[in-house]
C-alpha cells in the first residue's frame, strides 16, 4: 500500500513541477498560519499539502492561469468531429452533461458523438480506441476511473488527436484542457460561509461525513472545508466518517457520530445525499438543534433547507459545455486554459424562499 501512495505522490509531484508548482506554492505562503491557534498549524499545513497534490485542489489554484495552445491547429473552416466519452448515463446529472455538450456542439456547428462507458473503465478504453478509429479530431472525456486510460490516451496523442477532461480528470497525462468539477472551491465556499455563520462562538463541534474513501473529489471537498474552519480557530472537528456519497451509508455514519459525540453542533456532508442521510439519522434519534450542511444543491436538499432541516448547500454545476467549447477553440488554435473551474452559487434558506435558484439536479 505504501508504494502505491508513493507512486501517486511521485506522479503528483511531477505534475506540479511541470507547470503548476509556482501558483500552488504561493498560495501556501499567502495563507500564513493563523497566529490565534498554533495548535491547528500542523493540521493546516497537512490540509494545504493534501490540496496541493489533489487534482481538484490544483485545478482550483491554477484555474485560468496556465494556457495551452494547439501546436497543430486545424484550418479555420475544417469540419470538426468530437467524441464525448462519458463514464455512464445512469444518473440525471450525467444525462444533463450529455445534453449540454450536445447543445454546445450544435451551437458551434461541430459534430459530437456520445459514447457511454457504463461505469466500466475497460469499456471506456475500447470506446476511445473506437473513437480514434472513427476519425474524431478530439475526445472529450469524463473518465470512469482515475487510472487505466493512460495507454489509450497515449495512442490518441500519437495520432494527433486532442483530448480534454470534463468533471473528473486524471493525474499524469497532458490534456488540452480540463473543465473540472469545482470540488475544492465548493468545500472552501461552504467553509467560509460556516465560519461567518458561527462567528464569535467558541469551540463549535463539527463532524464530517465524507464520500468514498480515498476518492479525490471527496478529499478535495472535505479538505478545503476543514481548512477554512481550522484557520478560523473556533471550531473543533470531533469526527470524520465515510458515507460513500450515499444516503443509507451516510445515515449509519451519522448515527455512530451522534452516539459517540452527543454534543456535536454541525454535521457537514460531502454531498447532499450525505447531508440528507445525516438529517434522517438526527430525526430518528429524536435530537434537534444540530445544523446540517451539504454540497450539490439537489432537489431534496432545497426542500430540507426550506423546511429548516438544513442550513446551506452549494449548487454543483455541469461542466460539459465548457469542455466542448475549450476543445473546439483548442482545435482551431486558440489558447485555452489548462484548468477551468465554474463554481455554483451558495444556497441558503434566503435563496430557496426567494426562488431565485433552481436545484442543480
Amino acid at each position: 500500500m505504501r508504494s502505491i501512495t508513493l507512486g501517486a505522490a511521485v506522479v503528483a509531484a511531477t505534475l506540479l513541477l511541470a507547470g503548476c508548482g509556482g501558483s500552488t506554492a504561493s498560495t501556501v505562503d499567502a495563507q500564513a498560519i493563523s497566529p490565534n491557534c498554533p495548535e491547528n498549524a500542523q493540521r493546516i499545513a497537512e490540509l494545504e499539502e493534501t490540496l496541493s497534490k489533489n487534482l481538484y485542489g490544483i485545478a482550483a489554484a491554477d484555474a485560468g492561469k496556465t494556457l495551452n495552445t494547439n501546436p497543430k491547429p486545424l484550418p479555420p473552416d475544417a469540419p470538426i468531429k468530437i467524441t464525448f466519452s462519458i463514464e455512464g448515463l445512469s444518473h440525471p446529472f450525467l444525462v444533463t452533461q450529455q445534453q449540454l455538450a450536445q447543445a454546445k456542439a450544435a451551437e458551434l456547428g461541430v459534430q459530437l458523438d456520445v459514447v457511454s462507458a457504463n461505469d466500466d473503465v475497460n469499456k471506456q478504453f475500447n470506446d476511445i480506441q473506437n473513437a480514434i478509429a472513427s476519425g474524431s479530431n478530439a475526445i472529450v472525456m469524463m473518465p470512469a476511473n482515475t487510472q487505466g486510460l493512460n495507454a489509450v490516451l497515449q495512442e490518441a496523442q500519437q495520432r494527433d488527436i486532442a483530448y480534454s477532461f470534463t468533471q473528473k480528470g486524471m493525474l499524469g497525462v497532458k490534456p488540452a484542457s480540463q473543465a473540472l468539477a469545482p470540488y475544492a472551491s465548493e468545500g472552501k465556499t461552504i467553509g467560509e460561509w460556516i465560519v461567518k455563520h458561527y462567528e464569535g462562538q467558541p469551540g463549535v463541534k463539527v463532524a464530517i461525513i465524507s464520500g468514498i474513501t480515498g476518492d479525490q473529489s471527496s478529499v478535495a471537498r472535505t479538505s478545503a472545508f476543514e481548512l477554512e474552519l481550522r484557520k478560523a480557530c473556533n471550531f473543533e472537528i470531533v469526527a470524520e466518517q465515510p458515507g460513500q456519497y450515499r444516503r443509507d451509508a451516510s445515515a449509519k455514519a451519522a448515527e455512530s457520530i451522534l452516539a459517540a459525540h452527543p454534543d456535536v453542533q454541525l454535521i457537514f456532508g460531502a454531498n447532499d445525499e450525505a447531508a440528507l442521510g445525516a438529517i434522517s439519522a438526527i430525526e430518528a434519534s429524536g435530537r434537534s438543534g444540530i445544523d446540517v450542511i451539504g454540497l450539490d444543491g439537489q432537489k431534496e436538499m432545497f426542500d430540507a433547507i426550506a423546511a429548516g432541516k438544513a442550513l446551506a448547500t452549494v449548487r454543483h454545476l455541469p461542466t460539459a459545455a465548457t469542455a466542448v467549447e475549450s476543445t473546439v477553440k483548442y482545435l482551431r488554435g486558440e489558447p485555452v486554459p489548462a484548468y477551468s473551474v465554474q463554481l455554483g452559487e451558495l444556497v441558503t434558506a434566503e435563496e430557496v424562499r426567494a426562488g431565485t435558484l433552481q436545484p442543480a439536479f
Partner: protein
C-alpha cells in the same frame, strides 16, 4: 471442419464422439454466418469500420471475453455455469498489479513472470474452490459461483483498499499493449488458449468425458467416468482462463481494478451461448464461442462508428443475442427433422 478430422480417426469413434458430431456440420455455421453478415453490413454502412486499424482493435478488445469464454464453454458443456468471472478477473488483475507495484520505479522481467504466475495460481485456486463447492458440497453451480462472485470481489476490495493499483513501467505492460510482427500479443495469447482448449476437448480423453458428462451425467457415471474429477477439471481450467484474461485486462489498463469487470461473466456467457453452446450441456464448440465473442464485439464497435446512441446500442445488442440464438435453434431443428 474439425469434426470430420476426428471422425476419420478410428480411435475416437466412441459413443461420446457421436454426441459431438451431431453438433457439428451445418449448425456450426450459425455464428460464423451471423458474423459474416454483420461484417459485410458494417463494411458498407459504417465509416472507418473495415480498416486494418479498426479491425485489429476489435480483435484485441474481444480477446478478453473470448479467452474467458474458452473456460466458460467447458463449464457450460458439463451443465455448469461460472458467475465469478468478473470478480475473479478483478482479484487476479489486482494481485498481479500489487506484486508489480512493489517497486514503483519499474519492474523486471522476473517480476512480470512472478505476477503472471501469481495471477494464474489464484485463478486455479478460486476455480478449484468453485469445483469443490459443486462436487463435494453439492451446491448448484449457479449458487456456488454466485457465492464466490460475492466473496472474491470482497477479497479484491480488501487487498487493494478498494482503490485501483497502478502498474509501473516494465515488460508486463506488453501483455496487453505490445505486438509481435504487427500481431497484437492479446491475439496471440487468445490463439494459444483456443488451441489448448481444442486439444483438451478433441485430442484428450478428458474432452470426450466432458461431452459425455454434459450429455448425460448419470449415464457417464454408470459408464465409469469419475464425474467429479471432470467437474473439478473444468472449473480449475475456467479459473485459469479468467486469470489469463485478467493479465491482458490489467496490462492494457496499466492498473489492477478491484472494482472493475462487474458483469464480465454475462458478456462471456452471452458469447458462449451466441456461439451455439447449449446451456443444457453436452453440445457446443470453441469455434462458436470465438465467433460469438467476435460478433458481439464488432456489433458494439460498428454501432459506435455509426454513432448510434448508447441506449439503442444496448437494445440492438440484446436483440442480436436473441436473434443469433433463435437462428441457431432453427438451423438445428432443420437438421434434426430433415
Amino acid at each position: 471442419m474439425s469434426t470430420q478430422l476426428i471422425e476419420s480417426a478410428p480411435v475416437t469413434t466412441r459413443p461420446a464422439s457421436r454426441i459431438r458430431s451431431r453438433a457439428g456440420g451445418l449448425a456450426e455455421l450459425g455464428p460464423i454466418a451471423a458474423f459474416a453478415v454483420l461484417l459485410v453490413l458494417f463494411a458498407i454502412i459504417a465509416p472507418n469500420f473495415f480498416t486494418v486499424f479498426n479491425l485489429t482493435n476489435v480483435v484485441r478488445q474481444v480477446s478478453i471475453t473470448a479467452i474467458a469464454g474458452v473456460g466458460m464453454t467447458l463449464i457450460i458443456l458439463v451443465r455448469g455455469i461460472d458467475l465469478s468471472v468478473g470478480s475473479l478477473a478483478a482479484l487476479t488483475g489486482s494481485l498481479a498489479a500489487l506484486s508489480l507495484a512493489a517497486d514503483p520505479a519499474g519492474h523486471s522481467l522476473g517480476g512480470a513472470v512472478l505476477a503472471v504466475l501469481l495471477a494464474l495460481a489464484v485463478g486455479a485456486v478460486v476455480g478449484a474452490l468453485n469445483g469443490l463447492l459443486v462436487t463435494v458440497a453439492v451446491v448448484p453451480a449457479f449458487i456456488a459461483t454466485l457465492a464466490t462472485m460475492t466473496a472474491v470481489r470482497g477479497v479484491a476490495l480488501l487487498v487493494t483498499d478498494s482503490s485501483p493499483v497502478s502498474i509501473p513501467d516494465g515488460p508486463y505492460l506488453r501483455i496487453g499493449l505490445g505486438d509481435v510482427f504487427g500481431v497484437p500479443i492479446p491475439v496471440i495469447i487468445m490463439a494459444v488458449v483456443f488451441g489448448l482448449g481444442y486439444l483438451v476437448l478433441h485430442r484428450m480423453k478428458i474432452g470426450r468425458r466432458i461431452y459425455a458428462v454434459g450429455g448425460n451425467p448419470e449415464a457417464a457415471r454408470l459408464a465409469g467416468i469419475r464425474v467429479n474429477r471432470v467437474l473439478m477439471f473444468v472449473y480449475v481450467f475456467g479459473g485459469i482462463c479468467v486469470a489469463i484474461s485478467a493479465l491482458i485486462l490489467s496490462s492494457r489498463l496499466s492498473s489492477g481494478q478491484p472494482a472493475g469487470s462487474v458483469g464480465l461473466e454475462l458478456d462471456v456467457i452471452a458469447a458462449v451461448v451466441v456461439g451455439g453452446t447449449s446451456l443444457f450441456g453436452g453440445r457446443g464448440r470453441l469455434a462458436g464461442t470465438f465467433f460469438g465473442a467476435l460478433l458481439i464485439g464488432s456489433l458494439v464497435n460498428g454501432l459506435q462508428l455509426l454513432n448510434v446512441p448508447d441506449y439503442w446500442q444496448r437494445i440492438v445488442t440484446g436483440a442480436v443475442i436473441v436473434a443469433a440464438v433463435v437462428l441457431d435453434r432453427l438451423v438445428r431443428r432443420d437438421r434434426t427433422t430433415s
